[in-house]
């Protein structure tokens, strides 16, 4: 029995994936202020390995990143039985991509620019 999984004091780990360093930084500030542990990535490459390493409770994913696209990342993660149960919240500047988020299997959608309140409510809902 793994003692850790029963502990309610263990801070939850949130993975954030966005190509903009400004956004990563402010998200880190907000999340750490709210007692979350943060793993920040600036692109989707190698995300599976990082997930295995850190076992996040939720992933915030930007759709528009150079290299591997957010859509592709979501598909891959949702297909893999090891990662399919981790909630993925798509964060995007194009509000109409909300429909795409649902169709690729993401668990939620946050439009940029977001309200911090909405961000925190989404977190509470999925973790």
């Amino acid at each position: 029995m793994d003692k850790q999984s029963f502990s309610t004091n263990e801070p939850k780990t949130i993975m954030i994936c966005d190509d903009d360093p400004g956004i990563l930084e402010v998200l880190r500030i907000i999340l750490e202020e709210n007692s979350y542990k943060v793993i920040a990535l600036n692109n989707g490459k190698g995300i599976q390995k990082r997930i295995e390493e850190h076992k996040p409770n939720l992933i915030f994913l930007d759709l528009w990143m150079p290299g591997i696209e957010g859509k592709e990342v979501t598909r891959i993660l949702k297909k893999d039985p090891k990662t399919k149960d981790i909630p993925i919240i798509i964060v995007s500047a194009l509000a109409e991509t909300k429909n795409i988020a649902a169709s690729i299997g993401a668990n939620g959608f946050l439009a940029k620019p977001f309200e911090i309140q909405d961000l925190l409510e989404t977190l509470q809902k999925h973790t």
């Binding site: 509000a95 109409e96 620019p113």
Partner: protein, 381 residues
């Protein structure tokens, strides 16, 4: 075939042959009689290669849904097809000068003295370059919009963090609120820019889904009443079933109409929204008790860049694109949007969303009913 051409005067043939616009003359049965030099250049073909080709049986045109328009042209009615992407080699294998061309096509008949169609002229304007530029522009605007929203997102987040840290400081809170408002305004402007470009290039994609308009209205009313504490947003009526439409875009239209109603009625205390539905369509009316719209302006308000006159414009900001975008969205849903107004008393904006495509033109809700029911009493009260 040469015999038919003999009927045409030789010198006129030269005019056609040297025209810079691709011209194709066909017989009423769909067979091509002649093509000019510009045609040969555009399609990378000669008349010979059209042996056996019948335009009225062209599979690409049939599958593209264009045959009804082409047939109209062949029956004697001048017709314009604003744009079509055509792949020559899909029709005739050897025509592989280019994989595709975008053209605007004009079809007009040549009739004899008794009105019978002798020949049909088809003129193609090559708009491939324009379409490529449009695509580049749209791609650029999408990228620009994304790029602009990124620092806005970060700014907004820090503003909210500061609002929390400085919540005890009234001046700081006030100024931070003002910053947040400006950032929201900036976001709206960026969205408007991107939307109008999409609307212009016909790229507005509709993602339709079934949803209850009532729920959407309730959410918007709640959100907007937080912004204007002066105006009460009253919703009357309800839809009994769900509408099949692009929820995000209809949301845009409603926000546009309701926020306009608030904006242009600075001295009023309410905005009334009426929803009515029958088997065929839903009608939504947004009524304000504000400054109203002149008769002249009523005919212009849905056009691009319209913003009343300069005096009014100075007091109300925005890019003035909202109504234009709203009207395009409603049109794309096969609906109708219009306004009625009395200067100094108020305006009512209506839009109809058909529930079933088949019934768009024929059946309508009696809008008189809505006006009598709700608005004559409201105007007095």
């Amino acid at each position: 075939m040469p015999a038919r051409l003999k009927a045409l005067n030789d010198s006129y043939l030269k005019v056609i042959d040297q025209s810079p616009l691709s011209t194709q003359v066909l017989a009423p049965d769909g067979i091509t009689l002649m093509v000019n030099k510009a045609w040969e250049k555009l399609w990378g073909a000669t008349l010979d290669q059209l042996k056996g080709y019948n335009m009225l049986k062209d599979q690409q045109l049939i599958e593209g849904g264009l045959m009804p328009y082409i047939q109209k042209g062949f029956e004697g009615q001048p017709t314009v097809i604003p744009e079509i992407k055509y792949k020559p080699k899909e029709t005739i294998k050897e025509l592989n000068r280019v994989p595709f061309v975008w053209v605007k096509a004009f079809i007009y008949p040549i009739k004899d003295s008794s009105g019978k169609v002798q020949a049909v002229v088809l003129v193609h304007e090559n708009i491939t370059e324009r379409k490529l530029i449009e695509k580049q522009k749209d791609d650029f605007l999408a990228i620009a919009s994304h790029e602009l929203k990124t620092p806005i997102t970060t700014l907004k987040a820090y503003t909210q963090i500061l609002q929390q840290i400085l919540s005890e400081d009234p001046k700081a809170s006030l100024y931070l609120d003002k910053m947040a408002d400006q950032l929201n305004r900036l976001t709206s402007l960026v969205n408007e820019l991107l939307d109008v470009s999409r609307v212009e290039s016909g790229k507005l994609k509709l993602n339709k889904e079934k949803f209850l308009l009532d729920d959407l209205l309730k959410d918007i009313a709640t959100d907007l009443s937080l912004i204007s504490k002066q105006h009460q947003i009253i919703i009357e009526g309800a839809t009994k079933s769900s509408v099949n439409a692009d929820k995000y875009r209809i949301n845009q239209v409603l926000i546009n109409l309701i926020s306009n109603a608030i904006k242009y009625s600075p001295k009023a205390d309410k905005v009334i929204i009426v929803v009515k539905q029958n088997r065929f369509e839903i009608v939504v009316a947004v009524k304000d008790f504000g400054i109203g719209i002149t008769k002249r302006d009523l005919t212009l308000i849905f056009s691009k860049f319209f913003q009343a006159n300069n005096k009014i414009r100075q007091s109300f900001s925005g890019l003035g694109l909202g109504l234009h975008i709203s009207s395009e969205i409603i049109k794309r849903h096969n609906g109708k949007i219009w306004a009625e107004s009395t200067k100094g008393i108020g305006s009512t904006f209506y839009f109809i969303l058909p529930l079933d495509k088949k019934f768009v033109k024929n059946k309508t809700i009696n809008t008189e009913e809505i006006i009598q029911d709700r608005f004559t009493t409201s105007a007095n009260g």
